[in-house]
Every structure is written in C-alpha cells, then in structure tokens.
Amino acid sequence: MAVYKKSYRPYDGGLTSSWTRFLVIPRFAFEDMRKSRFLTIFFLASFIYPLICSLIIYVQHNSSALNLLGVQGANRLISINATFFLNFLGWQSMLALFLASFTGPGQVSPDLANNALALYLARPFSRVEYVLGKMWILIVLMSCMTWVPGLLLFLLQAYLEDGWTWMTANSSLAVGLFFGSWVWIVILALLALALSAWVKWKPAAGALMFGVFFVAAGFGVAVNGVQRTRWGHLFNISALIGSVWVHLFGADPAVNNGGAFFRMPAGEELPLWCCWSALGLLCLACLYMLARKIRGAEVVR
C-alpha cells in the first residue's frame, strides 16, 4: 500500500519462525555497534595476536623461513603445546573481558531506562528469548575472539605437523580451547547483562564489570592475608577460570597454571570442584539478578 493512503489495514502476510525470532535483537545491536568506530577498531585489533600466533606456528614448521631470517634452529625454542594455547586463550580472553565491559552495559540498561521491556514482552517473545538475544551479541563477538581463532590455530598446527595423528594426540587442546572459551564467554555475558540490568548508567556498569574482577580479586588476597588461608581465591574469578582451563586442557597444574591474568598462585590452588562450584554460583547469581529485573511490569508489593 502506498504511504499516502494513510489508512490502517490488518496484516495478513506470513510470520517468521518463533525459534529464530530472538536473533532480531542481535541484528539490530550489530547495526548499532558498527556505528562505533572505537569498537570496530578494537574488535579488529583483537585479531593481531592470533595472526602473530599463526606466524609463529608457520615459522616453527618452516626451516627455510628461519634460515632466511638467519635464526637457524630457533624452531627448537618454540613449542606448540598446552602452554602456547593457554597463553593464547588467556590473552584473547582478557581482550574479551574488555569488549564485554564496553558493549555489555549498553545492552539491557537502555531498555530498562526507557521502559521498553513492556513492549518487547507484550509480543510473542519471552524473557528467556530476550536475554538470549542480548547475550547472543556478546557470544558472537567473544567467540570470534577466542575459540574460533583458537581452533583455526589448532587446525593450522595439525596441518603443518602430522595431521590427523597430532590432532588425535592433542585433542584435549581443542577441547580446552572450545569449552574453556565457552565457560568464560557465558560468565562474561551473564555478568555483563546482569550488571547492565541493575546499573542503568552505562559507564558505571562498565567500571563495575572490571571491579568484579580486579577489586574482588584484591579482596580475596586481603582475606587470604588476614585469615592465613587460600579460600580467598574464591573471589578471584580469573584465577578460578584459569584452574578450570588447566583441567580442560589436560595440562599439568604444576607446569601450566593458567595464563598470565588467569594464574592461580603456586601452592595455593583450590580443589577443582570448588572452582567449578564458585563459577556456577556466580552464573546462578547473575541469572537471579536478570530474572528480578527482566519483567514486563514492575510489581510494587
């Protein structure tokens, strides 16, 4: 109908599948994100380290390239093993934390500040779909930064090494990269959305995201110092996830103690089940926070 007719008419066309409808939210969000030059540059810059890693893997398998550079025998100094991939995951996960802190707070808070949730949920669209749609943005971006390049590096290494034999012998690295990234992504996405739902001012929500990691870790160290215990590390989310990664990578905890920011201090390691439980509790707390805030109508009791 031409717009000049200006009359109301009912809709009699087809409808999209209800299962894929939650993807509408990330599509609109990506359109908005593309407008931010800073985020675009940051996202592209996050691929520099994977490129460097791929170069390292290539050079390690290419003696002529080393000869060309005049560093014959340097390949003996480079090892493509659990430590290499743990460091890769650690670095990329750190960048993912920054990305989640920049983009996460802007997901739910504008909808809450403008009372738009009633409009979302007055449609054939559930609260779970809403949260999933908002999480999807972070999941896609962080996946592109962590496990996708990680698995590509793993495949490159397998291709340049013995192919299938190396892959099967080192399958725990792929498992660690994939599931380790997902644990981190889910925690970051839930935390970013939960904080976004409770703190409506975006800069404050972003700062709080860092606070949860750095201030809580400092608090944990203080608890350890005062109480002469190691259980204060339960507040250190990055150290907890580092311990989980070491387990998922099937690495030796004595040698590989997480990567950089994700390192649990030597001799103070917590039992693995404690790490998993603490991370699980954190996720449940985030879900509870979201369930309290993501509602069509506020109930005043």
């Binding site: 109908m1 717009v3 000049y4 200006k6 009359s7 109301y8 008419r9 009912p10 809709y11 009699d12 066309g13 087809g14 409808l15 999209t16 209800s18 409808r21 509408v24 939210i25 609109f28 504008p110 909808d111 500040a113 403008n114 009372n115 738009a116 009633a118 409009l119 979302y120 949920l121 007055a122 449609r123 054939p124 669209f125 559930s126 509602r295 069509g296 109508a297 109930v299 005043v300 009791r301």
Partner: protein, 310 residues
C-alpha cells in the same frame, strides 16, 4: 464465537495484597472501556491479560485462549500501547517500530513497510527518521500507537492513550482511535480514568473499584434507552393542568428538582406535540433536554457502592 475477553474468577495477588478479586465477566464489545479510579486495578488487569502477572487463582481468556497456558498465542493477537513512556530514545521512530514489528513475527521487509505505514497513519510521517528521544509528548504517544498497530493485531490495548496530551492532540488521538474502531478489523480495550475518552470511543464499559467489578454496561444500549427520557422546565413552575394535558398524550410524568418535570415519552410521540400542548395551555417551555443517564452517572453510581462489588 468466543468473547473478546472472558474473566473466570480471576484473582491476582502481590504478596499479601489482593489486587484483583475473583473477577467474572464476558466482554464482547468491539471497543471496551476500562474505567476506575487510581488503584482500582485497571493496569493490573491489562498486565495480567498480557501475561506480565500470574493469576493466583482463576483465569482469563482472550478470544478463547487462556492467558496462562497459551500466553504466547495470546500475545501474538495483541497490540499494546502502555501508559508510560516506552521506547528506545536513541532509535529513530521508524526503526523502533520496525524492531517491534519484527519481534511480533513480521519478516523484515514487511516490518519495514508496515512501520512506515503506521507512522504515516498516526500522522508522524515527516518525523519518522528522527530519534524518539527528541519527540514531544504528543508525538511519543502517537509513536506508541504506531508500534501497537504495526503488526496488525486483533486486539489493541490502549492504556491511558490521552495522558498528558493538549486538547488538539487529544482530539487527534481520539479521532484515530475512533477510526480504528470504525474499520472493524480489530477490537480495542481502552483503559482510562477520563470518562469522556471512554464515552467517545467505547461501546461497552467495565468499571473497576478496589479490584472488584463495580459496574458493567453496554453504552450503546444505555444511549438507546435514554432517548425517550426528557426533562422539561417551564416559566413560572409546573402547572397542574399542563401536566394533565401531557399525560393525555400517553407520557409518564414525575416532578423533578427545581420545579422541573421528568417525562417518559411513548414511542410514537414526537417532541413537536409537547410544544403544541404547551401552546394550548399557554405555558412557556424554557428548557427541554434529553435526560441522559450519562457515563458519569453510571460511574458515580458504581463508586457509591461500599466495596465496589456488583
């Protein structure tokens, strides 16, 4: 044919407070008004029908579908214009309505087309690319109406649609609602505390008070039945012989306040005949008005009941 809304012992509690108390009603009108003072439970009823609040007992059905067990299906039939500001300030008007239409299930190209149409329809065609945060209050209300109708719902919930509008904007909004009603493609529920809005737009009214149904009436029938009631005022008060002469025409009479005379006219009697009798009796009719049992009367009567229960 299912009623538009069917309330079946619907009770909603928030903690220890009972907000809606065992409501029972069958609403079948094309446009239904929800009236009541602040805190009567109008918004809670709408939110419950939208599935935002869970009934503590009983249920409600919209076009025969249970709002509890078929919430998704029910919401696919509904368009909702909330009372408060609800939008994303940083989005352009047409993009926001398109997002809402896509979430309602429209494919993206249809959603975009209908978002443009809806904006032109509510009179915001020229400002549809402006950010919603820059709209005036009247424009925001119209934009809310646009998002509520863009996906072509079968039932439209309008919660205080004229809130905060100046008189010309209010008239435009009422005209739009009336036009939507006249087209007959959808039913509408209008919640308001403004009697005039409801009277102008609705043909059925449900009056709530303290979470109970205080009154339910069909305004069309009320209007029809009121047409034969008259109130008459003459110069110098009511004359006995004049009353007797009128009664010979078949009218029922009763003395009203301030010397006025109330009449119930027989169907075949025309007003002209009353003037003829007055002329014959040398009585001057000063004022003659249809005594309408207006919505205001109905509302005030409903508010007089102690707990608002019918």
């Amino acid at each position: 044919m299912h009623p538009v809304i069917e309330l079946d012992g619907l009770e909603v509690r928030f903690g220890s407070r009972t907000i809606l108390k065992k409501l029972n009603a069958k609403l079948t009108g094309r446009s239904i008004g929800l009236l009541g003072p602040n805190g009567a439970g109008k918004s809670t009823l709408i939110n419950t029908l939208l599935g935002f609040h869970k009934p503590s007992s009983g249920t409600a059905r919209i076009f025969g579908r249970d709002v509890r067990t078929q919430a998704r299906e029910v919401r696919s039939l509904i368009g909702y214009m909330p009372e408060n500001d609800s939008f994303i300030a940083s989005m352009s008007g047409v993009r926001f309505v398109r997002l809402m239409a896509e979430l309602a299930g429209l494919p993206r190209e249809h959603a975009l087309e209908r978002a443009h149409e809806a904006f032109f329809y509510v009179g915001l065609g020229e400002v549809r690319y402006r950010e919603l945060g820059t709209y005036s209050l009247g424009m925001k209300q119209a934009a809310k109406l646009a998002q509520a109708i863009a996906h072509g719902p079968k039932l439209l919930f309008l919660d205080e649609p004229t809130n905060g509008l100046d008189p010309p904007a209010r008239l435009r909004m009422i005209a739009l609602i009336q036009e939507i009603r006249e087209r007959g493609d959808l039913n509408l529920i209008l919640s308001s505390h403004l009697l005039r809005d409801v009277e102008e737009c609705c043909d059925e009214v449900l009056i709530l008070k303290d979470g109970n149904i205080a009154a339910f009436c069909n305004l069309e029938e009320e209007r029809r039945s009121n047409r034969r009631f008259l109130e008459l005022e003459t110069r110098g008060g009511i004359d006995g012989s004049f009353v007797a002469a009128i009664e010979t025409l078949g009218c029922e009479t009763a003395a009203g306040a301030q010397g006025r005379l109330k009449l119930v006219l027989p169907d075949e009697l025309e007003i002209r005949q009353l003037y003829q009798v007055a002329a014959e009796q040398n009585v001057q009719i000063r004022r003659l008005s249809h005594k309408r049992d207006s919505l205001e009367d109905i509302f005030l009567k409903a508010m007089e009941t102690a707990d608002g229960r019918l």
